[in-house]
Symmetry: C2
DNA sequence: CTATGATTAGACCGGTCGTTCTAGGAGGAT
DNA sequence: ATCCTCCTAGAACGACCGGTCTAATCATAG
């Protein structure tokens, strides 16, 4: 089960192990020794590469941000209209939630566990990316107030992530998509 | 700053200290020593009273559940109509978020930090309570599908909690309430 | 061949963790 | 006054933490 793939550099193996273990068990619970054992790498190499555990956590969160963004933007390319692209965000969420290893947003978890500036900054950057994506899609879909709709959809986005991680109910993304449709339609209609 | 109030029993002082420290800094970060120092109580007393840290965490989460439920149901009594009561949940959330010490849902945080059956059970009970409350209010408000609306509002409830804890934006509860109004109205109208 | 720099395994450090244990003090009931 | 119960302070335990250090190994460039 270790990440012994020698084709990958030590840095990549460490990052892959950190990604798996930190997300699965938490950045606070998983110690340095677990990671180097899983990566098949010496402890000195970790410290030569990343300098500290905190920096490894930063790198882990940056990697999560990048892979999540890729996954979502990649999924959105299947859709041709602004409306389906906006709602497609929640279809992409559904695919992410379907992963049996999914158990909540990595940034929410990391913020709960580790109270440090680096984690908070990485989480803020991720959340700004989500908000910017939703705002852009809301604009293209013709929402009267794109920022307001984006904020509302961001609530559904986070809520679905929490529910998918904590409840024994696989319908979180579907329910969020249904609600998002209602909110979008309301944001398109003229002011009451 | 310690909870030396001798009018309270040792158990209550421990619980009050656990409530403050666990929520403020996390159940994993705060150690036994910090709690007994804050409560002004001997270590043996803690173990005679609760048996283990895990049991203290359970008691802390049960206490959180009870106080949050009291706070919300108490606030709801101000409202006279089913509609305002349902939307009043988000007004109550706004009051909770306004507490400068608020930084996210205690059950989400605890689940992220400690992976144990006791924490998961306490979180599940809390989430079932929220869902039941929203379902009941949705029924009374006349929603066509109370369970569906309750699920949607639960997403907003969790999303608002995440946003209020992580974003530098005090409008989470207001935005959730606005979205909830749209979803409620859509759930009242006849099928399109 | 040799020298350099990266990587290895693993001992080691000081500190913290949850938990147990010892030893004794305070106060009420008999 | 004696007992019993609850409480106190704090030492001690074994385990684990992040981080440093030593020393040996290996690949490659000169």
């Amino acid at each position: 089960m270790t990440t012994d793939d020698t084709r990958l550099s030590a840095r990549d193996r460490l990052l892959a192990s950190a990604d798996q273990l930190f997300y699965r068990e938490g950045v606070h619970t998983v110690g340095i020794d677990r990671i180097i054992e899983h990566a098949g790498v010496a402890k000195a190499t970790l410290y030569n590469t990343f300098g500290s555990k905190d920096e490894l956590v930063r790198a882990y969160l940056r990697s999560r941000h990048a892979s999540t963004a890729d996954r979502i933007t990649g999924a959105l390319q299947r859709y041709r209209t602004p409306r389906t692209r906006l709602l497609g965000v929640f279809d992409a969420l559904g695919e992410i939630f379907a992963d049996p290893d999914f158990h909540g947003c990595a940034f929410v978890s990391a913020t709960s566990e580790a109270h440090g500036a680096s984690v908070e900054q990485a989480a803020a950057e991720y959340r700004l990316w989500v908000r910017a994506l939703l705002t852009e899609l809301a604009e293209q879909a013709g929402a009267r107030s794109p920022k307001t709709l984006a904020y509302q959809l961001h609530l559904l986005y986070d809520g679905a992530s929490v529910s998918a991680g904590m409840d024994l109910d696989g319908r979180a993304a579907d329910t969020a998509r249904t609600a998002a449709t209602v909110l979008l339609d309301a944001a398109l209609a003229g002011p009451s």
